[in-house]
Amino acid sequence: MRWRPFKEELFNHMEGRVLFLALGTGLDIETFPPGKTITAIDISPKMLEVAQPRIASYEGEINAHVMDVHSLEFEDDSFDQIFTSCTFCSVPDPVGGLRSLRRVLKPGGELFMFEHTGSRYYPFKIMMDVMTQLTRRFGPEMNRTTVDNVLAAGYQLREVNNLFLDVVKTIKAVNPA
């Protein structure tokens, strides 16, 4: 609820061939701009089953597939844009996942991310390291360095927008031509 306006603003950039990573139960669908054709993936078939009513009610087209980001089944350069939403806190190999996305993103294509990351500032860094020991048992890690991971995967950063401290942020990057 708190992040909805920021997600809407980010997802408003959707144009062309769009890939949305980790659709889950489809909670983000209500923040998508209408009239788009979106390819969405998620590793969990059960999550996509729950998402079906939201997919059906979207005013556009969403083609959802069960797929692991580390082994995408799309051809190279399949997409103009890729969007992620609170995903790369949970992906087991974040740099590998981002590299895999880069393969299917055309040269010059754009990566748009809404993520929460670790903080560079004490005591928040310590608190998030402590929290991660608990949260990684059921999914997300609170101390990921996602901006560094994006760079390590070979993208060029365009913009980082800190929404809450340096923890909740949007990241815009490009697959270099």
Binding site: R2, Y121, M127, L157, E159, N162, F164, L165, V167
Partner: protein, 132 residues
């Protein structure tokens, strides 16, 4: 960089309420646990940990209402601050429950103000276009 904190009233009041609640709960708990004459430094460590744990515990219901990260960090920070202040205070002089609650609530409020100030300097857009 730099920009205003969330100005939506629901979340402003939610942030304040969350942090005051955590602060006063931690203050009250620490006043029950700590005795006069305890080693101050060790007590400070113990009560900071208690504050962080209480902040983590209350994060779950409060985060659902007011935002996961926006609740987690301030309440853990405020919990630690409240625990530290009340814990150290209680080693020096007996604290009544209502006094500890008031001190804890004040610490929670102070923690929220600190977070707001930090957020105002960190929040905002950094462009990398020129570098690329």
């Amino acid at each position: 960089m730099g920009g205003s904190m969330d100005s939506r009233l629901y979340f402003v009041l939610g942030d304040l309420a969350s942090n005051i609640l955590v602060g006063l709960v931690v203050g009250w708990l620490c006043s029950l646990i700590v005795g006069v004459g305890w080693h101050m430094f060790l007590t400070m460590i113990l009560t900071m940990v208690i504050g962080m744990v209480v902040g983590m515990a209350l994060w779950i219901p409060l985060g659902i209402c007011f935002g996961s990260m926006e609740v987690m960090l301030p309440t853990m920070f405020g919990g630690m601050l409240s625990g530290m202040v009340v814990g150290m205070w209680a080693t020096m002089t007996p604290l009544a429950g209502n006094e500890a609650i008031a001190i804890g609530a004040a610490c929670g409020l102070i923690a929220m103000v600190i977070i707001w100030i930090l957020n105002s300097s960190l929040r905002g857009i950094r462009s990398y276009e020129a570098e690329n």
